[in-house]
């Protein structure tokens, strides 16, 4: 299932805007895509004094999407699969998480954040059906809750194409990373399929630095083409076009290009007038 279909069938919410009652779906393809959601979800919760509960293999070990626990300071509570009575399936894990949630509520925690990477549960015999039942139960319990929010993680690379849509359908919210930059004039957001950035609003000299920072982050983060989805862009100045061309020129075209997707017609006519030959290294991708 592609991102477009997902966006048509669910509410999309940046991680910082998740609220109690959200049972959110995170289907990642790279560790970066995963941690751009899980890290702020956990860190923000800890900073706000929320109870944060994570599912991990064992206590003291790495937590999916977060890595090894920090040496000091506040840390999430970990429900360890290794400590649960075996054989451990999704129902057992869910029950353990539910106990932690109830404990937090009894202790008067105003908000409880739960996150778990459930990809492992699919690999057991009958795992999908058991997991679907758990997710439906969770959706039924979290949805009306005024204290609990949950992020269910799945590794797209290790899920079957027919499994993903069924699992996705049990979630009411799709969580995405917070935008790289967002103000009333310009918004820069991450995109992952294809990898790159989505630009919306107006881009001029007052925000070149923001664009450059985002572009450098995404170009350094991986190999291959970087796509800029420009469908939401109402204005781009010459300096920004120059900047894109300069950044593109820094990488050999054989390794990767900067691909401009869905350029609105009016911006396209400006670039045509200036001449594509002035912008070597930039490639025109998907039409508007």
């Amino acid at each position: 299932m592609d991102d477009l279909l997902e966006s048509l069938w669910s509410v999309e919410r940046p991680v910082s805007e998740l609220r109690p009652g959200d049972h959110a779906w995170l289907c990642y393809e790279t560790p970066e895509e995963q941690s751009l959601v899980t890290v702020p979800f956990v860190d923000e919760g800890l900073a706000l004094g929320h109870r944060v509960i994570c599912l991990a293999e064992r206590v003291g070990g790495p937590v999916p999407g977060l890595g090894w626990p920090p040496a000091g300071g506040p840390a999430p509570r970990v429900v360890a699969l290794a400590d649960l009575p075996g054989p451990v399936g999704p129902a057992v894990a869910l029950e353990a998480l539910a106990k932690e949630i109830m404990l937090a509520e009894e202790q008067g925690c105003p908000v409880v954040r739960v996150t778990a990477d459930m990809t492992w549960a699919l690999r057991a015999p009958g795992g999908l059906e058991e997991l679907l039942a758990c997710e439906r139960q969770l959706e039924g319990e979290v949805g009306p809750s005024t204290t609990v929010m949950a992020v269910c993680q799945f590794d797209r690379r290790r899920c079957g194409a027919e499994e993903l849509p069924r699992l996705f359908a049990t979630h009411s919210v799709r969580v995405v990373p917070d935008p790289v930059f967002d103000d009333p004039v310009l918004r820069i957001a991450w995109t992952f399929r294809p990898r790159g950035l989505a630009l919306a609003g107006e881009l001029d000299a007052s925000r070149h630095t923001r664009l450059d920072e985002a572009l450098c982050r995404v170009m350094e983060a991986g190999h291959g083409d970087v796509h800029l989805n420009m469908s939401g862009l109402r204005f781009i100045d010459l300096g920004a076009l120059n900047l894109l061309a300069e950044r593109a020129a820094e990488r050999p075209a054989a390794v990767s290009s900067l691909v401009l997707d869905r350029i609105p017609a009016q911006l396209f006519s400006v670039v045509e007038r200036v001449g594509w030959h002035m912008l070597p290294g930039l490639r025109l991708g998907h039409p508007a």
Partner: protein, 315 residues
């Protein structure tokens, strides 16, 4: 192949003299395998085709109105054509006759003359060969400028009237610009905010009937000019807009003086070079710059579409 750019002027009286020079120029190009282009008005085109005979088939004839549409764009396209021919091991050979000098307004004539001069810099090293015919019946100023912008005469002798292209270009900008009209829209700018500036410019341009694509071009051009003013100039900044004839004029002024040697964006940058003011020239119909101790003025002109004629009710 010779990579030198050859730029000759043909000052002629009567069609015989014109054909006497133009025909051997074109047929010589065909014989040498050049990419030969003849820019001519329709009447001259027919005469040239008859005189060239079979060789006419190897000459690309272009209508003068189409070719002489926009000075900066023509220079850019000519450079592209010349470099393409050069890569193919040929030379670009152009007979360039703008013909209708008298129908252009004075500011536009100046820009075409500037292009005649600066092509000597821009096309350097491309091997292109350009012959520009100037009828002696043209206004004397036009004929005189033609003599100052071509390093060689039609026969290939050094032209004693030739002026250094940059010096010629400076002279094009030496006179003051006409004062803006008193009823021009004025936006004094305390703290330049490009977003609000575009709202203001877009609002007026649309109200005056500018089509959406041109509005976008104007916004990109004004943003670039204002960004430069804020970055390199000094307050007070002001923006003015008015309609002059068929043009929307947008003027940005500031209190600073441009550094000596600052680029006016007169030549196409090399690929991957910063193209700021050069791109502004491509986006607008005309760009006029004046800078001095009293401050700097950049004026952008964008032509409005011709107003459709009102149908006459004959019934």
């Amino acid at each position: 192949m010779n990579d030198a750019f050859t730029h000759r002027v043909l000052s002629y009286r009567g069609m015989d003299e014109f054909l006497g020079a133009a025909v051997p120029f074109l047929s010589g190009g065909v014989a040498e395998g050049d990419h030969v282009v003849a820019v001519a008005k329709l009447a001259n085109r027919t005469l040239l085709q008859e005189a060239l005979g079979d060789a006419a088939e190897k000459v690309e004839f272009v209508d003068a109105v189409e070719w002489y549409d926009h000075p900066a764009r023509r220079l850019a396209d000519c450079l592209t054509d010349a470099e393409r021919a050069q890569r193919e091991g040929r030379r670009l050979r152009v007979l360039g006759d703008p013909g209708e000098w008298a129908r252009r307004d004075p500011a536009e004539v100046v820009e075409w003359q500037r292009i005649e001069a600066l092509s000597n810099v821009a096309l350097r090293g491309t091997g292109a060969f350009v012959l520009c015919p100037y009828a002696r019946s043209l206004p004397s100023g036009v004929v005189a400028a033609g003599r100052r912008t071509h390093p060689e005469t039609v026969a290939g002798a050094a032209n004693p009237s030739y002026v250094d292209p940059w010096e010629f270009s400076r002279r094009c900008d030496s006179g003051p610009l006409p004062e803006p009209p008193e009823d021009a829209e004025v936006m004094p700018i305390e703290t330049p905010d490009l977003y609000w500036l575009r709202m203001y410019v877009g609002y007026h341009a649309k109200a005056w009937g500018m089509p959406e694509d041109d509005v976008q071009r104007l916004l990109v051009a004004v943003t670039e000019v204002m960004t430069n003013a804020v970055r390199h100039g000094k307050p007070p900044y002001e923006l003015r807009m008015w309609v002059d004839g068929g043009d929307v004029v947008t003027e940005v002024t500031d209190g600073g003086r441009w550094a000596d040697g600052a680029s006016f964006g007169l030549l196409p940058p090399r690929p991957a070079g910063r193209f700021g003011l050069w791109a502004v020239r491509l986006l607008c119909s005309a760009l006029q710059i004046r800078t001095g101790d009293d401050g700097s003025t950049v004026r952008l002109r964008l032509r409005l579409p011709a107003v459709p004629a009102v149908p006459v009710n004959t019934g």
